[in-house]
Symmetry: C2
Subunit: 156 residues, 2 copies
DNA sequence: GCAATAATCTCGCTGGGCGAGATAATGCCA
DNA sequence: TGGCATTATCTCGCCCAGCGAGATTATTGC
């Protein structure tokens, strides 16, 4: 374990400590998502779908089963199943696109929005509040770090 | 979307920008895990199991089906299935504990360790390298931030 | 209008994970 | 020491998420 090609890194190393911390954070966030799913009779995939749809709504991008399936990495059959489940729970409505009547537009219901906020809102609020204890340069440093990591993860 | 009880936060807000960045990072890390799983004929759960077992090996904690299942949130049947799959692929061995012969100790094979490193090693190395471009106080700031977030996510 | 294309849905199947119960080793107490 | 409750793991049968293949309906180009 921890072979040579990994370089001279161990837990004493600050960089390595940060890697482990970052992983711990992502693990916990995942766990939270699962808890949210379990509490609301949703599957993890459904949660990811909701997040995807809420993002689309936020940016004004029209969402369809096609775009949703692409984002989730599901095929059309699986995507239909996800939308069926969300629709059955009243979180999403199907609406035929009047422009291109082959397409179905997915509209998130207000219930889903508030559902998401009641669960994740407190955490978001806590983190935002928490940021108040960092001065401007510190916030800039953190933002630079997260951007760097995001770039590394995206293109790596 | 973005209702009142969320407080006065929008994308202009630095805290909110960081929240979105953090989420983007975790999403990408998840995606990476899925790619790793797909590339190696593993299920996402198997990857999580491997990570869990590698962590245990790193800290010297003995790993058993019981502890593994607890960490993954699986029941005993599901846990047995995971271990079966990993054993079939040669990543894990079952060994009866000589102290308490009811228990089975899980030993990760060297192949699994190198497998993990060849996939995640480059990213880890890149992040560690990347940290070289931050001075000591900046690194401390980032570490404080990640610890704070971790605390918020854990107890929230 | 008719083929070719596009978006979504239906059907049948595979396999991960669960609940319930079986099996085996251990610890406790008389 | 024997017997019973407990602990750790495994087996069996079931449910359902997701896949592949193909059907259905709408659109576009000739």
């Amino acid at each position: 374990m921890r072979p040579e090609h990994a370089g001279n890194v161990d837990d004493q190393d600050a960089g390595m400590r940060l890697v482990h911390l970052l992983r711990a954070v992502t693990v916990e966030l995942d766990r939270m998502g699962e808890r949210f799913a379990a509490d609301n009779a949703l599957h993890p995939t459904d949660v990811r779908a909701l997040i995807c749809l809420l993002d689309a709504a936020r940016t004004g991008t029209p969402a369809t089963p096609g775009t949703l399936g692409a984002h989730l990495g599901l095929n059309s059959a699986g995507t239909t199943a996800v939308v069926d489940r969300l629709e059955r729970l009243g979180h999403v409505r199907r609406e035929r696109d009047t422009q291109d009547r082959r397409r179905v537009l997915l509209k998130v219901d207000e219930s889903a929005v508030t559902l998401g906020w009641t669960f994740f809102g407190p955490l978001i609020h806590e983190i935002v509040t928490l940021m108040g204890r960092y001065d401007t340069t510190e916030q800039a440093t953190i933002e630079r770090f997260l951007s760097d990591v995001h770039k590394a993860v995206t293109q790596g």
